[in-house]
């Protein structure tokens, strides 16, 4: 029997879905594996664009061409990562909400999203003017570096959660 929920996070955790995932021997690792496959797809495809923005060329493709090829898959994989991440959260909501690495990971995800949104609403609008230049404008390079740093932080915090979940009360 589970105790009476004392807050919203325990209400989520003790929901029938949360209990089903937590008590199953295979559901949590299976959802986690799909989460990892989705996350590495997000990071791999974003990384291709970010590395191009910061000046790692390696090929003759224009940055807008790389983005056109990768972004639909980035978004699809991100949606899958969000759904599976939500399911993982439901099963241990109260433990996640007191874990500082989880909270930092969510913050970094928000920052990565804001960085991308700002870049697309500003610098990216004029991509046709600068993508053939030998060097990209500072705003594009900064957006690329910030994105790389934020996603590196997301991966680190994601791994740190696995090593620290349950040690905070």
């Amino acid at each position: 029997m589970y105790p009476e929920p004392e807050n919203i996070w325990q209400q989520i955790e003790y929901s029938s879905l949360g209990i089903t995932i937590a008590e199953s021997t295979w559901m949590f690792p299976t959802i986690e594996t799909i989460h990892v496959i989705a996350l590495v797809t997000v990071i791999g495809t974003i990384g291709l664009v970010d590395l191009r923005l910061v000046g790692v060329k390696g090929h003759a493709l224009r940055v807008s061409q790389i983005a056109a090829d990768t972004l639909p898959w980035t978004w699809g994989a991100f949606a899958l990562a969000a759904i599976t991440g939500g399911l993982l959260f439901i099963s241990k909501a109260s433990s996640y909400m007191i874990n500082p690495y989880f909270l930092v990971k969510m913050g970094l995800l928000a920052l990565a999203g804001m960085n991308m949104m700002y870049f697309h609403l500003t610098t990216w609008r004029t991509v046709n003017h600068w993508e053939l230049d030998p060097s990209f404008p500072p705003a594009a390079k900064i957006a690329g570096w910030l994105s790389l740093v934020f996603w590196l932080g997301v991966v680190f915090c994601g791994r740190a959660i696995g090593f620290t979940l349950g040690i905070y009360f």
Partner: protein, 174 residues
């Protein structure tokens, strides 16, 4: 399935792999990693970033083969993403080696680890032959045939299975 994996683990316990892993755990390098809490998480981060690069390479090759990414020729794509794949494999091998040194028993006396290794050898072999075949085919035609598409899909399946086994190392019934 759990019974089969448990039997596999029991069999591994009777092989020299167990002695090898115990020997590794007594080395100074292994003790150093065990004493530093953040060492394994950092190796795992490098491992995940390397997997991300390899997944991106396999995905982009697939997209080109199936015509969803049409900004480069088949030969150019094969050349470009096989280089990404090699760098990713270097990162995977280095970080994987450090993870084995840090937690030798957890890794080596584990059925998922060995299934992953077998799949990795198959995956890398298929990827090398695939990239070479794409380069050759790209010299004559820029449209991939049915066989090429089938191998491209096989690569995606293999990579998903490798990631699957890698994550399930933590959940092996040992």
């Amino acid at each position: 399935m759990d019974d089969l994996l448990f039997e596999f683990t029991e069999w591994l316990r009777g092989t020299p792999v167990t002695e090898l892993s115990l020997w590794i755990s007594d080395t100074r390098a292994s003790e150093w990693i065990a004493m530093h809490f953040w060492a394994i998480p950092i190796f795992q981060v490098i491992h995940i970033l390397s997997i991300s690069a390899s997944v991106a390479a396999v995905l982009m090759l697939n997209l080109r083969v199936f015509g969803f990414a049409g900004h480069a020729t088949l030969a150019e794509s094969a050349h470009r993403y096989s280089r990404v794949l090699w760098w990713a494999l270097l990162g995977l091998i280095c970080s994987g080696f450090l993870m084995i040194v840090g937690e030798p028993v957890r890794e080596l006396v584990n059925p998922y680890f060995w299934v992953k290794m077998i799949l990795l050898v198959i995956g890398v072999t298929v990827a090398v032959l695939f990239a070479k075949a794409l380069g050759r085919q790209g010299a004559t035609s820029d449209v991939a045939g049915g066989g090429t598409k089938a191998v491209a899909l096989l690569l995606v399946v293999l990579w998903c299975m490798i990631i699957w086994c890698g994550r399930w190392i933590a959940y092996a019934p040992v």
